[in-house]
Symmetry: C2
Subunit: 196 residues, 2 copies
């Protein structure tokens, strides 16, 4: 059974999952559908004005330490960016415009590295086009990302996420089964194997 991976470019724990998921899924021979979406509208519909990590600073402080520890454990480079959360809209549109496959997942990883390793602004067009080039996406992807069709597709993915009960990122779905958080990645893959 396929696993759908729902991620938001502003999300620290999505970063952890995006970096480690391709290898784990390949080892276990599980197909992953990458689903970039926006958390903003979902937070707003819950009455949250920003990320819970900003709304509840005590939780935010813990999150940074936790992500730092987890990244170290996973052997991933990580540096807390100066601002948080970043605006992941442009990156999400480009990821939506990119055809599924290795170049698309490499693009997503490049964006996360730009944001959480190098401290770049991922709402900047130059940052995103550099990531697209590094991932070998076709050169017109940034322009296509600005089309009404892609904007509408991203809106639809975000609505789908909400319909499935998704409220945070990363999330994983296997059929109707929902798993929330980087620490449920293995559970989601186990579920897919057991219920394949």
């Amino acid at each position: 059974m396929k696993v759908e991976f729902w991620f938001e470019f502003a999300s620290t724990y999505s970063f952890l999952s995006a970096m480690r998921l391709p290898d784990i899924a390949a080892r276990r021979d599980i197909e992953i559908l990458w689903r970039p979406f926006l958390l903003g509208p979902i937070f707003t519909s819950q009455g949250l004005t920003s990320s819970p990590f900003s709304v509840y600073p005590i939780k935010g402080r813990y999150m940074w330490r936790d992500v730092e520890r987890r990244a170290k454990r996973l052997g991933l480079a990580f540096r807390q960016p100066e601002r948080f959360p970043h605006n992941g809209l442009l990156a999400a549109r480009v990821a939506t415009a990119a055809p599924p496959g290795t170049a698309m997942t490499r693009f997503c990883q490049a964006v996360y590295e730009a944001e959480f390793v190098h401290g770049c602004d991922i709402s900047d067009r130059l940052t995103i086009s550099t990531c697209a080039k590094a991932a070998r996406l076709s050169s017109d992807v940034i322009d296509r990302a600005a089309s009404d069709d892609i904007k509408q597709q991203l809106r639809k993915t975000t609505e789908d996420a909400q319909t499935r009960g998704i409220f945070g990122a990363p999330s994983f779905t296997v059929g109707n089964e929902l798993f929330w958080g980087d620490d449920r990645l293995e559970d989601a893959l186990d579920w897919a194997k057991a219920h394949g």
Copy 2:
């Protein structure tokens, strides 16, 4: 190095940790200090009027399914109680009054089973005295739990939790290092071993 286990009797994920922690800690030969505290005052100081699972119902719905799945995976009996969250004040006072040791941890587990397996009201004195008896706590523990000294001790533990940056339960501390959530239990024990 010792691990401090911070738990709240109303908390579903604290239930999971309380049931599995004694065996895991014994196998790894790590000393655990059980720290019952109250989340209510900590939620209030963050501007939350209740458990985040009640304030954000979409998160609450996910939590019940997640706990059900986790309990099954851990081989623990579990049934979603009719009401949530329960008032864990009486149980926390009795756990505070009980001397540390096997009877105290057995009492905590009995309370969690009463709440999350049998659907009992843990604010009820009869429920709690039955748990105390089953755990072989001394018969005066319920009366001692109502003393000013114990009330003050529980207030102090809750203040300590807040000072350490604790905002949810279960939490684990190893020195100044904080771990939040049942899914960080193993990380906390690993940390204690590595930094012992």
